[in-house]
Structures are given as structure tokens and as C-alpha cells.
Amino acid sequence: MSLIRKPLNRRSILRAGAMGGAALATPTIFTSGAWSAGYLNEPTGAEVVLGFNVPQTGAYADEGADELRAYQLAVKHLNGEGDGGLLNTFSSKELKGGVNGKKVAYVTGDTQTKSDAARASAKRMIEKDGAVMITGGSSSGVAIAVQSLCQEAGVIFMAGLTHSNDTTGKDKRKNGFRHFFNTEMSGAALAPVLKNNYGTDRKAYHLTADYTWGWSQEESIKKYTEGMGWETVAAVRTPLGAGDFSQYITPVLNSGADVLVLNHYGKDMVNSLTQAVQFGLRDKQVNGKDFVIVVPLYSRLMAQGAGENVKGIFGSTNWHWSLQDEGSKAFVKSFGQEYGFPPSQAAHTCYVQTLLYADAAQRAGTFDPCAIAAALEGFEFDGMGNGPTLYRADDHQCFKDVLVVKGKENPTSQFDILEVVEVTPRSQVEYPAEMLGGELGTCNNGA
């Protein structure tokens, strides 16, 4: 046996180099995120990053601030800190400090309540910060835009406050989920209460914010009020941020209508309601009946802006802090102790969405968006403040009880402005998924 090796030549060096390189590279290829990760932004460290995309500037900044407070509280509870909040009442008991063994971290973005800004901040959180999920927002226009971006990128979108039917209707996406209710549910819940209080012989005049949510709400309220016998005298579109609505309110005075439906939200609702009251509409008698105003979607922050003008006015809301179920009480206590005031409905839906996402990830045992989507689809849960709730698989819309509220006559504090007049059961607001159109499409995990 010769100890003399073959002499080294160029060919053998190249061959050895190629083989050595392949051997060295093999474990790296199969363990690197680029290859082994079956999905975008798979967390490899000790933390998983969530992206909270809320309006931090612009007209909805206060609502965005409340959403952010709720997200921070949710992160605290998910990481096993604080009193646990809704984790104590949530029917699923999978979460026990962290998610899939990882600590929850977060980054924030500013939607400015503008679709392009919201998409840019969501993109930044996905691409630069490695967020596996995007959540938040205070506008349907923004929600639909960000949902579509998340679908394209391959992460889950857990919608914040978005009320348009389109979010889980014609613009629904496989990667997007909504806990908040929609205009169809508002119409279904409000109509019986309006019928009981104002009768079936009414003439309604709609003032509608001229964008996706306004159109959706006008359509839903018309559908249900006309269904019970009301006549729609006119439906007038008003530009967003009109400020002075006097030129739209004065035609109502002598239109023969005895109901004014304000399909406005935020600042528009504050201004139009304030001005409608100033024009004496609520003191009028038309067709032998008291003239009434209806605000189909209420939020506490809006009601604060409109002050005493909301007294006695009916509307609907997703959740209210005065509810007395164990989940609501636990959340109000936890949020109130942390921040010194009760949470808004926007804060509630954002908090719940974060917990639902985390729970789904825990049940799925992964942060793969498609596995999480599968875990959320058809998920039945309770203890989150809205009674037994279903995340319907067909359109990713939550079905739960809807609250009909009224501006309180004698508020005891600046937060005690609305009172719950009826909890409309889930069965009354359910509708077939195909009714609102749209296609979920297929799940995208970004791989």
C-alpha cells in the first residue's frame, strides 16, 4: 500500500473544492430561514413580532391611541404579565404565557387613516420588522387596502374597527379576519328597535358619507327600514370632512321626512349631528310625529364629541364597557386599572383580535398564516364580552350578539354617554355568506 498520494492537480482541487463547499453549505441551506421557513417571517429567535397599524395622527388619532393601549395590554397578558384580562374568561385555555414558546413583541405603524399611508406602514412592518401579523385601523377604506396588502405579502390581517360589509363581503380575503360587526348586522339589530319606538309609518332622509362604509351603511339601513314599512324620501351623499353640513341639513326641513339617518362616522358624525340639532330638527313635528334622528354606528369617542346632542338617539355598537358579563367585566377592570378609564369598542375589538390570533397560533402550533387561518375558520368561542361567537369559515366574519344603544339622558361621567337598550341575539343578525358576494381565494403564506 503506497503512502504516496496522487499528485494534486487543478482538476482534483476543483472537484474537492466543489464537494467541500456543497458539504459545508448543506446544513446551512436546510436550516436557514430562506429555505426551511415554509412561510414569510417565520420567527427564529425567542420572540414573535406583531404589527399594530393604527391611526396615530389625523382625525382618528384618539381612537388609534385607544387601540394601541388595548394592543399593549393584550401583549402584556399574552406574555403572562398583569392580571391576565380576558385570558381568564376566554373559553379556549391554550395560552399559558407566550405563544408557541415565544415572547410576544410588537412594532407599530401610523395609518393616518389614509389607505396609501396604511399600506406603506404595514409593508414596512412586514418587510423590515418581520411582523407575522398586521392588525388595527379605524376605517373600512384602510382595512380593505391593508387586508389586500397582507394577502399579497402572505401574512394574517386581523382587522380593527371596520364596519363596511365589503371587508368580509366583496373584498374579503383568505388571509383577513374581522371580529367587528358590519352594517348588515347594524341594520338587522336596529330595525326592530326603531319599529318598536317609532312605528312602521315613517319617512326617512339619509345623509351618507361618500365612501365605501357610508354606501354600505346606507344600503343596509334602507334595506331593513324599508322592509318594515318605512319610506326613504332621499339619500344624499356628503363629501368626507364637509365640516359645515348646513346646506345638506336644510333640505331635510321641508322634505316631508320625519326621520334623519346620519350615515356618518367620526368628525362628520359629530358635526352633522350637532348641526342637525341646532337646526331644531329634534323639536320638529312632521306628519303628526316627533322628528327623530338615528345614528346607526356609534362610538363613545364620537358621542363625546357630539356632547349632549346624542341624548335619546338610537344607534348600534359592537361592544360597550357597561356590559355585565364576566368577559366584559374582566376587560374593563384590567383596562381601567391600567389606564384609569374604561375601554372603547375599538380597544375591545383590537384586544380580542390579538388574543384570538395568538390562540389560533398556539392551537396550530405554528405561526404559518395558512395554519392559523385554518385554526380561526369555524372557531367557536366565548368569554370575550359578546357571548358565544363564531368565526365563520366562509367569509372570516365573526357572528355574535349586537348591541343597540341610545344616548344617555343623564350621564354620570364623560365616559357614561351611551346606554345599552337591547342586546340583539346572534341568530337575528346572521345572514348567508354568499349574500355579500366576494371570494376568499386561497391562503398565501408568503413562501
Partner: protein
């Protein structure tokens, strides 16, 4: 007929606000030659003078009731405004009249803001191009907005008109219409009257006082007035402060109509600029006339009957008028010959 009359009233009311803001804008342009994009912010600051005054009056003495707790377990707070606790009925009266009374706060505050703004920032931009002036004043407006938002938040803060002038008056019945056909809010009529008084006061000040005469002379020929040994710059500083007060007062009195928020100035700014351009840059009567004209046109364009023929016309009418004016008569309705024409 009733619809037309109501829209006319709306237009006059809206026009009153436009005219007040545009008056200050055109006064500043006419005297200092500065295009002040922070003028809307001055309107907003005036509104927040009313908010601040109301908040000061509403400062509360907070006591806790240990026998009752909040939903989150802390003792229930009982809040009573100091003015009511110490002054009784007079305190309640002050709270009721807080909006008109806040004029007392707004006048000195806006004078000071105007003075500081002009001396501290604007004067350094007299000789700079209009583009620089626009950029710096627009930047200032954003800074002022953000300061207000940081202090008061982004949500509108409602302000009530005094009880005496809440609700609406049935003015139609005075002119022989059926009862309830033409009703108009009392406060909007107060606003219209207030706008008329302020506009008249500014005109009288410029027309019938020596100070006003010098300012008008300075507007016509700044150099000659300077050669006469008059410190025209100092007078123009006062004019800037007066313009700030006019915008501020317009804001104060508008608060019961539009619950103020940090962005309200921007909403009015663009419209007011259009008013100034239509009226004629630097023309005071032009600003007032164009303010009312555009207010009325905007109201009529919002009528359902008009929108049925021309959908969306309510949103573009003002800009449409501006385009036509700029094409046909670039100096504006009352503008001086040569201004904006080359």
C-alpha cells in the same frame, strides 16, 4: 322658494366665516406682501381660545366617594366646577356664556400670537419668493396644529352656545310663510351679525383713523410712505396682529357651529385662499364680496335639485369659479390692475 331662502341664509352664514378669514389673509398680503398659509391655523387657535376658556371655567374640584366604586374598582370621583362651587348661580351663568366671554381671552392672545409670529418669523421672509413664504407658513401651520393636538387630542371638543340662543328661530313666519317652513339656528344668525360687525369695524378702522390712512397709503406705495419718515413696518406688524385677531374671533364664534378640532383651520384655509383669489389679492372689499358670493354658490350647488342635474357640483363649484375667474380676470373681481396678471 323656502329651499332657496334657506340656502341663501346658509350661504350668507358660511360666507361670513369665509369673509372673516379671507379679510385677514388679504390684509396681510396687501400690506406685507406675504402669502400666509398659517392663517387657517390662526382661525383654529381662536377656536381653541374658546375651548381653553371653557376648560378654565370648568376646572373641577374632585372628591371621591369611598362608598361607591367604578367598574374597574377605584373609588368613584365626584366632580364639581370651581366656579359653580364658589360663585353659585353667577358661576353657572359664566359657564353658559363661556363662548362669547372667551372673546376677552382671545383678543389679547391672538394679538400676542400675531405679533410674535410676524416679528419672530414672517418678517424674515418679506424679501423671499412667495414659494418660500408659503412653505414656511404652511410648516408653521402644521407645527401649531400638532401642538394643539398634543394638548387637546384629535377628537372634536363640543362648545355650547348660550342657552338663550340655542335652538332655531321660525323666521319664515315673520315673512308670511307657514310656521316651521323657514327655521334657522339663532347662533348662526348671531354669527352672521358678528361677522358683519367685525368686517365693518375693520373697514372703519382703516378708513377713519390716521393709523388706517397710513396703512392704506403704505399698501398703495410703501416706499413713498417710508420716505416720508413713517415707520411703516411697525404699522404693518400691528396690521398682522389685527388680522390674527379677526381670524381668531371668527374661530371663537364658530365653535358652537363646528366642534373645534386641531384640523379645522386647514379645512377653511384652502377655501379662504380661493376667496382671496376670486376677490382679488390684496382687495378688502373683494375678500368680503367673494366670501359671501362663494358661500352662497356653494350652498346652492348642494341643493338636491342642482345635484340631480350636475352630480358632484357641490364639491367643485368653488374651484370651478376660481378657474373661470383666473382665466377671464386673473386679478380677481376687485383686484388691482397688474396684480396676478403678469
Amino acid at each position: 322658494m323656502d329651499v332657496i331662502l334657506l340656502q341663501l341664509l346658509n350661504g350668507l352664514d358660511k360666507g361670513g366665516a369665509y369673509a372673516l378669514i379671507a379679510l385677514g389673509l388679504t390684509l396681510i398680503f396687501g400690506t406685507l406682501g406675504v402669502v400666509n398659509f398659517a392663517h387657517g391655523a390662526l382661525f383654529m387657535l381662536g377656536a381653541f381660545c374658546a375651548v381653553t376658556f371653557n376648560k378654565l371655567l370648568s376646572l373641577e374640584v374632585v372628591t371621591t366617594d369611598p362608598t361607591k366604586t367604578t367598574a374597574w374598582g377605584s373609588p368613584l370621583e365626584i366632580r364639581t366646577p370651581y366656579v359653580e362651587a364658589y360663585l353659585g348661580d353667577f358661576g353657572s351663568w359664566m359657564l353658559n356664556y363661556s363662548v362669547p366671554m372667551s372673546i376677552l381671552l382671545a383678543v389679547p392672545v391672538m394679538l400676542l400670537i400675531g405679533f410674535v409670529m410676524e416679528r419672530g418669523l414672517i418678517k424674515h421672509f418679506y424679501k423671499r419668493p412667495h414659494a418660500d413664504q408659503i412653505l414656511v407658513t404652511f410648516g408653521l401651520a402644521i407645527v401649531l396644529q400638532e401642538i394643539i393636538k398634543a394638548i387637546y387630542g384629535a377628537n372634536p371638543i363640543p362648545q355650547s352656545a348660550p342657552e338663550l340662543v340655542r335652538g332655531a328661530a321660525d323666521i319664515g313666519s315673520i315673512f308670511g310663510f307657514d310656521p316651521g317652513v323657514i327655521v334657522y339656528p339663532y347662533w348662526r344668525m348671531v354669527y352672521l351679525g358678528f361677522a358683519g360687525v367685525v368686517i365693518a369695524a375693520v373697514f372703519a378702522f382703516l378708513r377713519f383713523t390716521t393709523f388706517g390712512m397710513v396703512v392704506r397709503a403704505g399698501m398703495a406705495d410703501r416706499d413713498t410712505v417710508g420716505l416720508l419718515g413713517i415707520n411703516i413696518e411697525r404699522r404693518f406688524t400691528v396690521v398682522f396682529a389685527i388680522a390674527a385677531v379677526v381670524a381668531g374671533l371668527a374661530g371663537v364664534m364658530y365653535t358652537p357651529i363646528l366642534p373645534p378640532d386641531y384640523h379645522m383651520g386647514m379645512d377653511f384655509l384652502v377655501l379662504s385662499f380661493v376667496v382671496v383669489v376670486v376677490g382679488g389679492m390684496g382687495s378688502l372689499p373683494g375678500a368680503v364680496a367673494a366670501g359671501f358670493l362663494l358661500g352662497i354658490l356653494q350652498s346652492f350647488a348642494s341643493m338636491n335639485e342642482v345635484k340631480a342635474i350636475l352630480p358632484g357640483i357641490d364639491q367643485i363649484i368653488i374651484y370651478l369659479v376660481a378657474v373661470v375667474i383666473l382665466l377671464v380676470r386673473p386679478r380677481g373681481l376687485f383686484g388691482r390692475k397688474g396684480v396676478m396678471e403678469n
